[in-house]
Each structure stands twice: as structure tokens, then as C-alpha cells.
């Protein structure tokens, strides 16, 4: 019992985020199929044999210059052929956490969409860093951070997210295209946004990332007030916080039913575009626990696994 207590204290000291409980994510790691990095790491990428490693993946004909230590002399004795051992690639994955920091993440204020998105990003960063993967954080439309590789860097990420406030407008497609151009090194991109835009715009951004061989994950943060707008208002002049455009609406029963249909179609369209682009899509309602979402929904999608 004393040992367990000491272990818990040690763990809190290493994660370093006061008041933030990351223990639900211990022993978990992010899992992606693509996005192999260039630096050696713990993650194995079958299909990418390399001259050295731990796990034998296959053989190849000897060519001058190959390391003689990897010649398989037993095979040479049996088959009279010079074959060299090839091993499974072990690389790190660079996770790009792209958090939507536009003004739309600030409304409805009661839903705290940006806070939920930040908490989700924090959890995913912790998962990645705990598995010796690298993390780069960008609160769009702001610039990206440097790459973090230490688990203790979770505190830095926490600070960066805490310092950010939602504001300004964001064109997600252009932002993702620009990000892909600026960071050609492939990795896994996790986009956390309210995605309240035309799915075609989202698809353009996803395709730009996929063109750079990024693994893409779309995490859709849906406000409870967006699911049930009657909780926020019954009538009034709606104003887009990013474009200041207005639209008068009265939430009659018909209008409300129409809205629910449109929202459902929108989420279906997002899921469909993710499937088309070989991306992963999941949505999180602000009323839910982030830990539950990570350990249940993302685990079901295979994005989170036990280490």
C-alpha cells in the first residue's frame, strides 16, 4: 500500500500538471498505421525493412556495402546464396495536435468547447509523450510549437493551451494546407475542432494532409447547445462570431426539426469524408467526460491502445 502511494506521487511529479488528473491515461498509447517518422523510436512499422533492428522481418540479396554482420551464414550453407537479414523498422511517430482556436470555439459560452478541446489535446499529448512519441502543438490559426519528446513536456503543452483563448476567424482548409506545406515531415495529425463548416472545406484540408502522407484524425467537438439550441434561445437574431453575418431565426417546432436534420446530415457527411480520405472521425459532446471519450470511443476506433 505504501508502495502504491509512493508510485502515485512519483507519477504526479513526472506529469507535472498541478490540478490535472492524467492517471486515466496511464498505460495507454496512441496507435496509428501511418505517419512513420525519421527518427528511431519504439514504434514498429512492418513493411519498412531496415538493415538493423530487433525483430527479423525478411531477407534480401547481399549487395556490396551491406553489413557483413547481418549475413545469414546458415542460409548460405544450405542454399549457397548470400542473403542479408532485414529487420522491422522502429521509429517514433510525430503527432501534430492541431486545435481550432477560432472564435467559434468560444460560443455558446456555457459549452466551453475550447476548454474541452484543450483538455482532449492535453490527454492525447500525454498519451503520445508517454509512449516516447513526439508531439507538436498548434492552436490554429496560430503558429506551431516546437517538437516535444519528453513526458515532462506535458506541462509545457498544458501551459500553452492554458495561455490560448479562442478568437478570430479560421478557414480550416487553408490552415491545414499551409500546415502541410510548412511541415513536410510526415506524422499523424489530430485535428480538434467544432467543424461547423462546409464538409467540402474540411475535405480539402484533409486531402492536403493526406497528400503529405499524414495519418489524419478528425475529432469533432460538439457543443451541447449546438445539439439542443432551444437551451440557448427561442428566437432572435443569430450572429456569426467570426464573420458577423446575421440571420433571424425563430425556433418553431418545424425549424427545430429542420435544424436537427441538418446537424445529423452534417455529422454524417463528416464521417463519410473521413472514410473517403482514409481518416479517422469521432465526435465528442461537451457534456461528456474527455477521459471516457478517450478510453472508450477512441479505443473502439483503435486510435488508443494499451502499450
Amino acid at each position: 500500500m505504501l508502495r502504491a502511494l509512493r508510485h502515485r506521487r512519483k507519477r504526479a511529479a513526472t506529469t507535472g500538471a498541478p490540478g490535472i488528473d492524467l492517471t486515466p491515461y496511464d498505460g495507454l498509447a496512441l496507435h496509428v498505421r501511418r505517419g512513420m517518422g525519421e527518427r528511431t523510436g519504439d514504434r514498429r512499422f512492418p513493411g519498412h525493412p531496415q538493415p538493423s533492428g530487433i525483430e527479423l522481418e525478411g531477407y534480401t540479396a547481399y549487395a556490396p556495402g551491406d553489413d557483413l554482420r547481418h549475413l545469414d551464414w546458415n542460409v548460405y550453407g544450405r542454399l549457397d546464396a548470400l542473403l542479408v537479414r532485414r529487420f522491422t523498422a522502429e521509429r517514433e511517430v510525430l503527432f501534430h495536435l492541431l486545435v481550432d482556436g477560432s472564435a467559434s470555439m468560444g460560443v455558446p459560452a456555457r459549452d466551453r468547447k475550447f476548454a474541452v478541446a484543450s483538455e482532449l489535446a492535453r490527454a492525447l499529448a500525454y498519451l503520445a509523450l508517454s509512449a516516447n512519441d513526439a508531439v507538436r502543438l498548434a492552436v490554429l490559426p496560430g503558429a506551431a510549437s516546437r517538437v516535444y519528446r519528453q513526458r515532462a513536456s506535458t506541462l509545457r503543452i498544458v501551459d500553452e493551451l492554458a495561455a490560448a483563448t479562442p478568437g478570430g476567424s479560421l478557414a480550416l482548409d487553408r490552415a491545414l494546407e499551409a500546415y502541410a506545406l510548412r511541415h513536410p515531415q510526415p506524422g499523424a495529425t489530430i485535428v480538434i475542432s467544432d467543424l461547423m463548416m462546409d464538409p467540402l472545406e474540411v475535405e480539402r484540408g484533409v486531402r492536403a494532409l493526406r497528400a503529405r502522407r499524414y495519418e489524419v484524425v478528425l475529432l469533432h467537438v460538439v457543443g451541447a447547445g449546438e445539439l439542443d439550441p432551444l437551451r440557448e434561445f427561442s428566437h432572435g437574431m443569430l450572429q456569426d462570431v467570426e464573420s458577423s453575418a446575421t440571420h433571424p431565426v425563430v425556433l418553431t417546432r418545424t425549424a427545430l426539426a429542420r435544424y436537427h436534420t441538418l446537424l445529423r446530415d452534417h455529422m454524417t457527411a463528416l464521417a463519410a469524408l473521413a472514410a473517403r480520405s482514409e481518416a479517422t472521425y469521432a465526435h465528442l459532446t461537451t457534456g461528456r467526460s474527455v477521459a471516457e471519450f478517450v478510453t472508450t470511443d477512441l479505443a473502439r476506433l483503435g486510435l488508443v491502445r494499451r502499450r
Binding site: R231, S234, M237, L238, V241, V249, A255, Y259, L263, H266
Partner: protein
């Protein structure tokens, strides 16, 4: 028994705030915007203009509405009355003073409101089947509602009853009520007035038989106590003067402004400072025109009804006189006088010539020391110093050194003349009584009083007899009063018919000539009653009335000049129950104001609204 009421019904105006609240919400609905992350989905839903939507109340609005209603309800000062006298199984006669002084504003309302409430409470306490009667006491007693068991009708009448502009004569009303109550065993009489019992004019026996309730406290009143217009006969309107008596009945010095208008034209305005209980005579001269004069006293005192008065300045009359005299000196003297009157015409004729051929046609004639045997019907005549033995008017004895001791100030022949005490007659013949006229000026010598001027109508013409000699020079200061009296009489003789009547409220006045509806004036003409032939006028509301069809209408100017009504100061009132029964001496009504509960509810609603507002902010 329990009754409810409102101590401040005017507070109902505060409910207008509800309309303002709704208007604010409607206005806010137009300009209120709701921030959303994106219009991407909303733009696919057809827009709905706010103006076309029906008003949808939210929680904050409902709370604010209830808060306003609670505040306005509290401002009405609702109350619940408990206790009071239980039903006695007996009848009740209510006597309410409806005189002008009951219009006095006290701190809690008018004096009439102060007596209306307990009177209504008494009616409310009557048992089913018990009968009540309502008598009002103004200048005259009046049974407003005879015996009735219909208490709702009685309550309605009490609610709509308003005081009049008349003096008070309480005693006849109380006697009437006591007489009505005497026929019913156990019946009681309740008197509500602002007069103290000792000033009510009631006999002690009557006072002992009634429940007497007196109200009133303030003495804050200034009044126009009287108006006199002096307008010499045949003078122009601008020569007229008006003397206005303004009296301060308060124990404090007061400032006031007196404004006079003639018709629609401004005449003058005087600022006055009156010491406590002082009277000031304000002389107004040089009026801009003839016509009805409206006088207004701007004081803001407790009783407004006596702050206004009306009077009349007559237009200039034209003198067309036939003088029948044998005295050349008098003819010359009168010619000199008429020459000084604008537009006047004088024809002189000796008596012999007149008797030979009296001129026909409507004329005014002055017969000096002669009474012709035959006078044309159309001639109105003034006989001066008629000789003894005349059939029309004659002097039965000669009197030396007489002075005027009495006169009919309201007679039109004396209108516009000042007091006649200054009139001294050195030589006159005492007139014998006549069957056609009345003495309008009486003089007295050392041993005898006699009619100096008799006026009346005979055979369809106006006739007057003046006992004094007209001795030249008429324009001298010694003879000027007699000359003015003569000219005033000639003016009356020359007037075809009276068109302006000045009367006081509450006093019936018989007038000459026919008066017929319609009547236009205060209270839609209902403030003036006309009855009988010759007509008798009785006014209950002061002001200017126009009687008759347009074009031939007569003016009736009604004033309230009554010291007893204007002197409104009282000691605070009290109750004097009747001896022998205890209707009003029973347990007093306990009044509980419940407005504070509404204010408490408003405070609670305010707290609830604050919580709702914080919750909305927290979204």
C-alpha cells in the same frame, strides 16, 4: 365583517409601467443578437422577421412583470377592514353634507372622500333586508335615495355622489332624516359633515338623536369673497371698474395672483400678499371690452371652488329721452348733461303740448312735476316729484332733509351704482304706496321713512316715481348722486329686457321674462335649474351659463360668495354618537393596509430575478 378597498386609487396609473415593460421587451427583441459559432446550418433555415412573431415571454420577463404588478399594487395601498358594527336589524338614514366646503382637499383626500368611506362602511354593515335612506344637505335638503334595501344601489350612489358649489344648510336635512327615522323603530341617523356640532344649526335635541361625524382640519384657503362692478349709467365699458375682495382665511400669510379676463381677452393680473385672516380690495379699471368677466385667483390652496368668480360689464347704452317739463332751467341743465353722454339725444316738451299731442312710439320720458292723464302704451315713464293727487303716483306729504337708508342693490335700476348712503335729499314728497311697483330706494327724515324711488310695471310699460326734486345744477357734486340715480332709472326704463342675470349658488332667484332650454354651462348645464313662470333660477354649480337658443340666449352668471363655506378651518373633527343607541359607537373599523405584503413580494421577486439573471449569465 370584512371589507376591502384602496387607499390610493390614483396609484392605478402605475400599472402603465407594465405597458412600458412590454414595449421595452418588444424593442429589445428587435435589436437582441445571439452569438453562434457559425451560420452554416442556420442559413439553410428560412429567416423569420422578429416583428411578425408573437411575443414569447421568458422567465425574466414574467418575474419583472410580477415585480411591477406587485409594486403598483402596493402603491394602490389596498386595505382590509375588519370589525365594525354588526347588523342591528334596524334602518339607517345617512345625511351627507354636500356643500362647497366638502370639496376641501385634506392630506387623505377631499373632505367628501373622508365621509364617503365611513358612510359606505355603514351601508356595508347593514344586514340583508335592512333599509337605508340617503339625504344630502347643501343649500337645500334633498332625498337622493328613499328607503331601500338595495345596498348595491346605495353603494353605487355613494360612490358617484359629489359635493356641490352651494352653501350649507344642515338643519333641514337632519330634521328631514329624523322625521323619516321616527316612523321606523330602531332606525338611526348618521350625519357626515365638516361643520362642528355647535355650528351646525341643529337644536340640541336633534343633535342628541343623530350619530354626528365631523371631518376637516386645514384652514389653507384664499377666496374671492365678493365682486362689485361700478358702471355709471350710459358710460362706456372702459369707464367701468371692478372691485374684487380677496380674503385669506388661513392662519398663515399667503401669496396669490389675481387674473381677470373679459371674454377671451386678458384684462389684468395682480400679485397679492395677504396677511393671516386679512382681506384686500383689489380695484380693477380700464377693462378692454364689455362682456363677461372671469376672475381667477391662483393660490393652490385647499379649496379651489372659491378661487374663481364671474361678473359682467355691460356695453354702452344709448340715452334717448323725452323731457316733459315747464322748467327751462331743468331743460337746459339736462341738455348740458346729455351733451356729455356719447350718442345721447334729448327732446324737451312742455306739459301742455305733451297733453295735447303725446308722441307715439317707444320712448323713455321724464315727467317733471307732472303726471299726464294719458300716456301712450309704448312710453316708459319716470315721474319726478309727482304732484299730490295723481292717480299713478303721488306724494302724500312733503319731507325736508331726508337721507337714503335702504335700497334694493340687486334691482337693475341701481346696477353699477355705488352705495347710496351719500344721497341726501333736501326736499321731497313722500310717495304713497302703489299697487304696481315696489320701493327700491327708501329715505328717512327725522320723523318718517318713505319710498324715494318706486319702480314697477303697469299696463305693459315700465314706470318709476322719484320723490325728490331735480333742482339745477344737476352736475354739481351735491346733486351728483341724485343725478346718477335718475340716469340709472332712465337706463332701466330704456332697456327692453334683461339679458344678464347674476345669482349666487343655492339661492333661488325669480327673474323677469321667459327662459327656456337649452342650458349650456358647468356640468353640461345641469348645474342650473329653471322652473316656473315667471322662471325661478337655482344654481348648484358656479360659472357662466347660456340659456336659450343661440342668438337669443341669456347669460346667467353664478358665483359662490359665502364666508361660511370659504372659512374652512376646523379643529380636526370627531365623532359624537347618538344617545340611546350605538350604531356608530360600536367597535371601530380596524383597517389593515396590505400594501406592505405586496412590497415584500416584490422584494422576493427581485431576488428571484437576480438568481435567474445570474443563471442566464452563467450559460
Amino acid at each position: 365583517m370584512i371589507g376591502i378597498g384602496l387607499a390610493n386609487p390614483a396609484g392605478a396609473l402605475a400599472f402603465a409601467a407594465v405597458a412600458i415593460l412590454v414595449a421595452l421587451y418588444l424593442f429589445d427583441r428587435r435589436r437582441h443578437t445571439i452569438p453562434v459559432g457559425s451560420l452554416f446550418l442556420w442559413q439553410r433555415i428560412a429567416p423569420r422577421p422578429m416583428e411578425r412573431q408573437r411575443f414569447r415571454a421568458d422567465l425574466l420577463f414574467v418575474l419583472q412583470l410580477l415585480l411591477l404588478i406587485a409594486l403598483a399594487g402596493g402603491y394602490l395601498r389596498p386595505y382590509v377592514e375588519e370589525g365594525g358594527t354588526p347588523a342591528t336589524g334596524a334602518s339607517l338614514v345617512l345625511v351627507l353634507d354636500v356643500s362647497a366646503s366638502m370639496q376641501t382637499r385634506e392630506a387623505e383626500g377631499t373632505r367628501f372622500d373622508l365621509v364617503r368611506r365611513p358612510a359606505r362602511t355603514l351601508v356595508a354593515h347593514l344586514g340583508a333586508g335592512e333599509e337605508a335612506m340617503l339625504v344630502t344637505a347643501g343649500a337645500h335638503a334633498r332625498v337622493v335615495i328613499p328607503w331601500t334595501a338595495d345596498h348595491a344601489r346605495m353603494q353605487d350612489r355613494l360612490e358617484t355622489l359629489e359635493p356641490l358649489d352651494t352653501p350649507t344648510d344642515l338643519a333641514p336635512a337632519v330634521e328631514l332624516a329624523l322625521g323619516a327615522a321616527a316612523d321606523r323603530p330602531g332606525a338611526s341617523v348618521a350625519v357626515f359633515t365638516d361643520l362642528p356640532p355647535q355650528e351646525s344649526g341643529l337644536a340640541p335635541a336633534d343633535l342628541a338623536g343623530v350619530d354626528y361625524v365631523q371631518v376637516g382640519h386645514t384652514d389653507d384657503n384664499l377666496a374671492i369673497a365678493g365682486v362689485t362692478v361700478e358702471q355709471p349709467p350710459f358710460s362706456t365699458a372702459s369707464e367701468a371698474t371692478a372691485t374684487v375682495a380677496v380674503r385669506n382665511y388661513s392662519h398663515l400669510a399667503r401669496r396669490a395672483a389675481l387674473e381677470a379676463r373679459v371674454g377671451e381677452r386678458f384684462w389684468t393680473r395682480r400679485d397679492l400678499v395677504l396677511q393671516p385672516h386679512a382681506t384686500e380690495q383689489v380695484l380693477l379699471d380700464d377693462p378692454p371690452a364689455a362682456g363677461e368677466v372671469a376672475l381667477t385667483l391662483e393660490t393652490g390652496d385647499a379649496l379651489a371652488i372659491d378661487d374663481e368668480a364671474v361678473t359682467y360689464i355691460a356695453p354702452t347704452e344709448r340715452l334717448d329721452l323725452l323731457l316733459v317739463t315747464a322748467s327751462r332751467a331743468l331743460a337746459a341743465d339736462l341738455a348740458e348733461v346729455t351733451a356729455a353722454i356719447p350718442g345721447a339725444r334729448l327732446e324737451v316738451m312742455p306739459p301742455t303740448r305733451y297733453e295735447a299731442a303725446p308722441p307715439e312710439g317707444p320712448r323713455t320720458a321724464l315727467f317733471d312735476r307732472v303726471v299726464p292723464a294719458e300716456i301712450p302704451t309704448a312710453t316708459n315713464a319716470l315721474f319726478v316729484a309727482p304732484p299730490p293727487g295723481s292717480a299713478l303716483c303721488s306724494a302724500y306729504r312733503m319731507v325736508e332733509a331726508a337721507t337714503v337708508v335702504d335700497w334694493e342693490a340687486d334691482h337693475p335700476a341701481l346696477r353699477g351704482l355705488g352705495p347710496l348712503e351719500a344721497l341726501e335729499v333736501t326736499h321731497a314728497g313722500a310717495l304713497a304706496p302703489t299697487d304696481w311697483g315696489v320701493p327700491i330706494v327708501t329715505a328717512a327724515a327725522a320723523t318718517v321713512a318713505f319710498p324715494l324711488l318706486v319702480a314697477g310695471e303697469r299696463d305693459g310699460r315700465r314706470v318709476a316715481c322719484l320723490a325728490a326734486d331735480l333742482t339745477p345744477p344737476l352736475a354739481s357734486s351735491d346733486h351728483e348722486p341724485l343725478l346718477l340715480l335718475t340716469l340709472g332709472t332712465l337706463r332701466w326704463l330704456g332697456q327692453p329686457e334683461e339679458t344678464v342675470f347674476q345669482i349666487a349658488t343655492g339661492v333661488p332667484v325669480r327673474v323677469r321674462g321667459a327662459l327656456s332650454p337649452p342650458v349650456r354651462g358647468p356640468a353640461a348645464g345641469a348645474g342650473l335649474s329653471i322652473a316656473g313662470d315667471p322662471p325661478v333660477l337655482l344654481a348648484e354649480r358656479r360659472g357662466i351659463y347660456r340659456v336659450g337658443p343661440p342668438g337669443t340666449e341669456r347669460l346667467v352668471l353664478v358665483n359662490l360668495f359665502d364666508d361660511r363655506e370659504s372659512d374652512i378651518g376646523r379643529s380636526g373633527g370627531g365623532e359624537w354618537p347618538a344617545r340611546g343607541h350605538a350604531r356608530s359607537a360600536g367597535p371601530p373599523l380596524a383597517r389593515h393596509e396590505v400594501g406592505w405584503w405586496l412590497y415584500l413580494a416584490a422584494a422576493a421577486l427581485l431576488g428571484g430575478e437576480w438568481i435567474a439573471w445570474r443563471r442566464r449569465l452563467g450559460r
